[in-house]
Symmetry: D2
Subunit: 346 residues, 4 copies
């Protein structure tokens, strides 16, 4: 049994990790820490765990955690996280970091978008991005894994193969994403009160959300190509799920029709994810309901335009922001890190 | 035009008052105060008012308000409200108070349930309860009106006539109420975050909610009878609306059947609210959707039991907690206070 | 009092018309027809009208309606509607048609997109599009008004002025719209069952929805410019509201920065809608919650790109699909047709 | 591996069974039948299974199913189900029946409440009720298991021990239940359209729902006591979950206080479910969110009244109507039938 420590246990991603571990045949939660609720049972913070989980919250003590756990899932906010990850790494615990602290490939990019000095800049560039569909080998041996952002997962997965295969224009990509409210976290704020967001949809952080550069950076790392993405996130009245509607301009070949372009793009995606147990290139248009509470990804392509005059391609990709966008992706990473089948417990 | 001052302008009931006044042909909002957001446009706090309302928030200054307004709608929390109402009354402004400070008929009852010393105990007992269906004459001349609680409105309206007419047992009444989340206010709290309450229903404050004694007190004042109510509120995943399912034991007469009891109870309610423009005794079972965004009340009765052996009666009553349960009821009270038809602007 | 007939009374737009007329000081519902529910009280079909509306449904008999009503609101499906409108016009009743039958300016365009022969092709081209912000004079004297589509309203209102003023490229417009479920109507279908759409967002009819050509056609009529729009609608888990996120490419001038472009586009919209009581160009990013249950429109612009290298502009526009997207727009049209202030009863 | 056949595969409970089997380590779905969609892939009917399930729907052919499956989960409507169960039993397949056809202990009771002649009355009385907390031994060897109703599960589990232990009055029990919409099934109906039920709560079938007699019958079978239950179901705007708020009158002992009664009732429930992995008697008040997507049950008790004058007890019980109220309960039953640990795959 893999022994797992949960660092920062009061939020939605932490609950999701705990819930998934209860059903995991080869891993178990052995430690849960919290600065604010030390001593309380984890099930008091998350009443859905009542009667199912006996763990009490403890303070963060790396040396003790090293005795109790093989891997730490670090669910702390950016900035705070890097410091904690360093302390865990120092005592030899492998870490899956849910924050953005080790996702970007350059310190200036991080410091520009996150507005803080990076606490451990030396490690930027040598932490693997936890997307096993692309980095399984590095993840298998990693000491630290940067768990991907939720929006980026929904955009990178359909875009990376198309950019890598030179099938679309790199400088004309629009990602219009719709996320459930859990992505905004569990801290009480006016903006996530039920009566503020229920029965309403709203755009926010237009062209200024931190996940935009994460998408660009990763697609570059995967494909070797620089891309320009205009990213608009929307807060949608639902607990979970991200739907990204992505507008791209296909590179056209002589004689292309709507149909040939559609076939080419769908084919490229199908080929890219052949054998991947969690990524499904589907004929129907995915809805978030098709994937919530799972680690699965569904995506499809529709090419616009008149028959012989193909226009933009519209890609739709659906994931669960708390699952493949956070906690089940972390379990998948853990499985790969410890030599299990990627699907174990998922 | 009646000039209206809004005291405490940042919450949902205040927004609802502002919204209703925009459509009122004989009243207008002239003042809005806020301790926390003084100076800001009201429309910045409530973006739905953008382009529709020019008022800026000002500090609370009774003398100045007396020059600008004929009536104040006081949307402050209990305790704080009574003090403010006293200051407004002192400068001659008529007040409709949304808090519970003047609803109950006895100081000890108030202090027991609200856990604070009453700031102006002398006025307890001489403030009219703002339910024009029962107290229109007193409201017409009142200096202060205690605007009813939301849950109490949904229980008093169907119960008071039945108790007054001696049709049900007074000591065996259960009120099981389901409320939308707006009843919990607009202050950020974990318990009203979207992801905590969405897709979930929960009971709270079982047999210990302050609106229980308010129901008992008012039914006693209206009917002259003491009643015993077991009250359970529930938080329901919707913005607005209260549905109260009320279990009572009808007094039976010789030869009563399910049908005769049903007819008697429905008849008593129909008679009690004949000519009341906002209260509808209906044949269908009301849903909150039938009344939200209106000042209307829908209620019905179903008698349980075998044909010749009538059992309990189940009463269902639906209101909108922010409308008839708060802000539109206040407008109705204002209309009555200023000699307008009760339905004006509603 | 304007006497209004409702033709096709069982759907959501019909209920919304009835509800708005109850609050209208100078119009009243005098007739409501229904093929399927003839004889039933309208309030039985729409229980929210219980106790508030005495009208019973009657069969469709144009001659009798001509005696009872001054204007008909025709809430029938496309195809069926044109025939009915013709019969109403024949007996001299002015008509506001909610269907798409008279919205487009060419018969082939209609027949291509709607897949049926137009029942009254002679009138195509001589029916005014019921958007009083552009066509108030024609509406004032019209015998037939084509009430705009919901999605088109949310796109035409922000785009038409920018195209007319030559501020954006005409051939690179993407409209990504998110609509509440009421837009799909009240006929029982698997796709609009609660458990199919709740807690889920989905794209549909990608680049193939009939409202795309309606947007293009109207913007052309308003601006004289041909535009190319890629339109993707999404079904969003909420009753009402449309949010359109619109991606356009601004025409750049020498020395333009993000800020100058932003100022120019916002300025053009503010100028276009100056004095329009229902259209608000706002600084905040609109959410559908800011406009639902009103006839109001909120829109804003955000320009992407680096400071001195402005990129695309993102326009966000929010309306209520059942209000400004259907029924309150019809009331606004009626007001204009009968010489009332456009805001009467709204 | 246990081979499972799904009979009637297009509804929500069938999807839930398929979903649970995908994660079950010792059972697999081998057959899925459907009258209406024969030949289609199951994943076309339920797009959340895309890429995860290769099964195509076949017609119902008992002999062939007998070769392909060890157990059938029969998700048909009442009446139709009994006939099918009989055919399956005839070819030696063990059956878990989701309908009500074999839940009640008497033919007249069934025929009175369901309004149809029972197709296989001989088996009434000899089919075990699939609640392993009470009938594990019978289930282990059963050929047919009647899977419990959703509302009954939420009422029987807290009430049966209290009645059996003679702790409450048998003739004064009120069950006020709130259910998510999935309980109403997946057939398109006006009453379960999104816009009819969203943002609304409504009572229905007051004192006349078929699950009332099922509760009474089962509590009688478990406890030997006859009980009288007044049952009111409510449709709540959420996908899944049932919360039952249950009002009972405790039998009082000399010197009882609120506290002693509370302790006695909680103690009895804790004792009854000691060692049961899915039933949790908790101190907090359960919300449906604490149990949805699980097979778990949470319940608690609050006693009303003044300190030394205990009144009614209010019991709150939360389950997921599609899980413990249907499909995961069926998996639990299957586990018991095939000698697995009851928690396998759950």
């Amino acid at each position: 049994m893999i022994r797992v420590a949960l660092i920062g246990s009061t939020g939605y991603t932490a609950l999701e990790v705990a819930r998934l571990l209860l059903a995991h045949p080869q891993a178990e939660l052995t430690v849960a820490t919290s600065r604010s609720d030390e001593g309380k049972p984890l099930a008091e913070i998350h009443p859905s765990l009542a009667g199912r989980c006996e763990i009490a919250l403890q303070e963060f003590a790396p040396a003790r955690i090293a005795e109790q756990a093989d891997v730490a899932m670090c669910c702390l906010p950016h900035g705070a996280s890097a410091e904690t990850v360093r302390e865990l790494a120092a005592v030899g615990i492998r870490v899956i970091d849910f924050s953005a602290d080790f996702r970007l490939s350059s310190v200036p990019l991080y410091e520009h978008w996150y507005g803080v000095k990076h606490p451990w800049p030396e490690r930027i560039g040598s932490v693997v991005y936890g997307m096993p569909e692309y980095y399984a080998d590095e993840i298998a041996t990693a000491d630290i894994v940067a768990n991907p952002g939720c929006y980026p997962t929904s955009a990178i997965m359909p875009l990376a193969p198309l950019v890598r295969d030179r099938l679309i224009e790199n400088d004309d990509i629009i990602v219009d994403s719709k996320s459930g409210v859990s992505g905004a976290g569990r801290s009480p704020k006016l903006g996530t009160l039920y009566c503020e967001v229920n029965e309403s949809i709203a755009a926010y952080a237009i062209a200024s959300h931190r996940h935009g550069p994460e998408m660009q950076d990763l697609i570059h790392r995967i494909s070797g190509e620089s891309v320009q993405i205009l990213f608009t996130p929307h807060l949608t009245p639902m607990d979970r799920g991200i739907l990204s509607t992505i507008y791209v301009r296909p590179k056209l070949l002589e004689g292309d029709t709507v149909e040939t372009v559609q076939t080419r793009l769908m084919g490229a995606l199908r080929h890219a994810y052949q054998g991947q147990p969690f990524v499904h290139v589907v004929d129907h248009i995915p809805a978030t309901k098709h994937v919530v509470m799972t680690n699965h990804v569904q995506m499809t392509v529709r090419v616009a335009g008149e028959k012989n005059s193909p226009g933009r391609a519209v890609i739709v990709c659906a994931i669960d922001n708390l699952s493949k966008g956070a906690s089940s992706a972390a379990i998948q990473n853990m499985n790969v890190m410890f030599g299990l089948d990627a699907t174990t417990g998922l």
